[in-house]
Amino acid sequence: MKKTVFLGALTVAGVAAGASAAATLDDVKARGKLNCGVTTGLVGFAAPDANGVWEGFDVAVCRAVAAAVLSDANAVEFVPTTGKTRFTALASGEIDMLARNTTWTFSRDTDLKFDFIGVNYYDGQGFMVPKALGVSSAKELDGATVCIQTGTTTELNLADFFRKNNISYEPVPVETNAEGQQQYLAGACDTYTTDASGLASTRAAFENPTEHVILPEIISKEPLGPLVRHGDNEWGDIVRWTLNALISAEELGVTSANVEELASGATDSPEVNRLLGTEGNLGEMIGLDATWAKRALAAVGNYGEVFEKNIGEKTPIGLARGLNAQWTDGGILYSPPFR
């Protein structure tokens, strides 16, 4: 009886939240700040620096949306969320969007009533081994001890992978990434497995990163992307096309350095013109002004710039573009056209 009342109240509250959130854009404008959910801290993706200013790959998406909607990339209230609190924060309306390296899955998209508006990082589960082990492929890991975070999808992926390749392994369960890092360095396991971006940033923190290699096999799909609530498609469109603008801009060669120049007058590329608002009325269609994308690009730069600045090969994390290169460069980043 109590449970039904509780669930009933939850539903009512959910409906109320959905109804009131129907005009997220108006709420954000009235508030003058975008409430953006981020992680409590993940190297390269979101973390405050020594002055308390949030920086990172996911943070850039928040800033781009704020720049497009509010003309101010700093008009963002970053709401740190843990893996456990992120979905309730979004569902309850505490945040307007969530950019927290969240994997796009069927049940999250449908059952939890969220809309993933795209993918800003294609991740996948990988393996890290010490160079001294002399292993060059995950398929050679027969009989290996594997450090694995319990209760995650990586645990299930691991079991699938080893069963499929008909080889055996011995799991060494760990609770957190920090624990996995320590266990691996202490030699408690031959290999450590988690998302490839996580492996890269973990390795970057090692005393001798060059003594460890990340194996080429990626055994799962982890498309990470920003998400919004069901029920406000206009707001979803704004976030989706802001992300697409960052991706398209890289493809079209628009950077934070040349965006002012390109936007000052019509260029000979019609798509650049439509993107930057010197031609057509794309901004108007999503309820913003003509220069929304220009502001987002001027604030954070295009996708490639964001990548290079936060997690690219020149940073300590040193991730290669890989799958996250433009489709023209052999990756799978592919923004629908601005037309």
């Binding site: 973390a47 609190t85 940073t315």
Partner: protein
């Protein structure tokens, strides 16, 4: 002369000779405490070896420590393969560890001042024999001053809060003659109504004597642990006393309310209550309302601690001989007087170790708020600092620093409680 009958008589006292070398000073202490038997000698030698090993392996880590470096990689370059701690993370991020990463740095003096004033406010309570009781006036004002210093904003908010409390106390005084229970309720209601009405005044006048406001979301670091610890402990002791007395009450409704509250709260883990405060409440509140998160957490932790303290105090009450209750009755004291003058002073004295135990445990439990994405000191370490690309991988230095802060505080509490027990000792042993 009589003396001539004797061959020798000493005319002066012998000077006092020191005890034999083996029976004095360091040697004696060593013989008695460290080398009193073969087995003890062996134990001493082994322990000395272990202590030396630990000290000699830890010493270079402290001595070679790097205090000035922009990042962990730079630290490792400076150390160049030698063993040494990278304490630069503390010298760069100390402010974030203490105040959180969003508290404006030019305002650090405000929580700092509130912290210093805490000792002045606490002194007359904790050392009531030494400090004049007039200082208790400042203790009563302290919560409002501290609130104003830490959160900022208009001075009217704490002033009206204080006036509400005074009004409640006044109503209580006027009605307490009729019935003590009703007086408590009347006083509470009066204060509540006053606070609601004062909202209409403080709302439009929010710039009167205002200092820069800092929202709760911007607080963090050890400051949060201290705030939660101090507020929750000091609130939960009176609530705990009330619950313990309520549980012993002969009035069934009050008794059952207290029993259900205590048993329910004790049956639920603190972390569950914190999740309720953070996540579930958000569903029930209308979207957009932000019921202050710190306030929610304070309420939950206070409820949790009161239930435990109530049981500790009930233990103290149960330990009193029946004769004490009967003696109070036979003197013609009413319930309030009997409790105040005879029962509680004795029961609380018995309960001190238990209360301190709960207080120390509670203070350390405040780090649990890091799982609901509040940046207390542990949350700061696990989140922002370890996630920055400069300091990813520094564990010992950061957690050692947190442990040091907690040790200082908890050891202080423990020493104080032992001192207090000695002060209150009335039996002649």
């Amino acid at each position: 002369m009589v003396q001539e009958h004797f061959a020798f008589v000493r005319s002066t006292m012998l000077p006092e000779a020191p005890p034999p070398a083996a029976e004095r000073g360091v040697v004696k202490w060593l013989r008695e405490n460290l080398f009193s038997s073969a087995a003890n000698t062996l134990l001493t030698v082994v322990s000395l070896y272990v202590v030396l090993q630990i000290a000699s392996s830890a010493a270079p880590w402290f001595l070679n420590g790097v205090w000035d470096s922009p990042s962990l990689t730079a630290c490792r370059d400076i150390l160049d393969g030698k063993m040494g701690g990278c304490f630069a993370v503390l010298s760069e991020r100390w402010n974030q560890l203490l105040f959180g990463f969003k508290y404006p740095s030019e305002l650090y003096w405000r929580p700092g001042l509130a912290f210093v004033l805490l000792f002045i406010a606490g002194a007359p309570l904790l050392f009531y024999k030494i400090f004049p009781s007039k200082m208790l006036i400042f203790t009563g004002l302290y919560p409002f001053i501290a609130y104003w210093l830490i959160w900022g904003g208009s001075v009217l908010v704490p002033v009206f809060a204080l006036l509400g409390v005074l009004l409640g106390a006044f109503v209580y005084k006027r009605t307490v003659g009729a019935s003590a229970g009703m007086a408590v309720i009347a006083g509470f209601v009066a204060a509540l109504i006053f606070w609601m009405l004062s909202g209409f005044i403080t709302g439009p006048m929010e710039n009167v004597l205002a200092i820069e406001p800092v929202p709760s979301r911007d607080m963090g670091g050890f400051m949060i642990n201290l705030m939660l610890g101090v507020v929750c402990v000091s609130l939960s002791v009176p609530f705990g006393i009330a619950l313990a007395l309520g549980r012993q009450s002969s009035m069934p409704i009050i008794k059952w309310i207290c029993v259900v509250f205590i048993e329910f709260i004790r049956g639920v883990p603190l972390i569950t209550l914190l999740f309720v405060a953070n996540v579930v409440l958000a569903y029930f509140l209308p979207p957009g309302t932000s019921f202050d998160l710190i306030l929610r957490v304070i309420i939950m932790i206070t409820m949790f601690a009161s239930a435990y303290i109530a049981e500790v105090i009930r233990g103290g009450l149960a330990a009193l001989p029946r004769g004490q209750y009967e003696a109070a009755d036979s003197l013609g004291l009413d319930y309030a007087q009997a409790m105040q003058l005879i029962i509680l002073p004795q029961a609380l004295k018995i309960s001190i170790p238990g209360i301190v135990n709960v207080a120390v445990g509670l203070f350390k439990d405040t780090t649990l708020v890091s799982v609901i994405s509040m940046f207390d000191i542990v949350g700061m370490i696990r989140g922002p600092i370890l996630a920055s690309s400069e300091w990813n991988g520094v564990y010992w230095e950061l957690f050692g620093f947190a442990a040091l802060l907690f040790f200082i505080t908890c050891y202080g509490i423990s020493q104080y409680s032992q001192w207090l027990e000695r002060q209150l000792q009335t039996d002649h042993r």
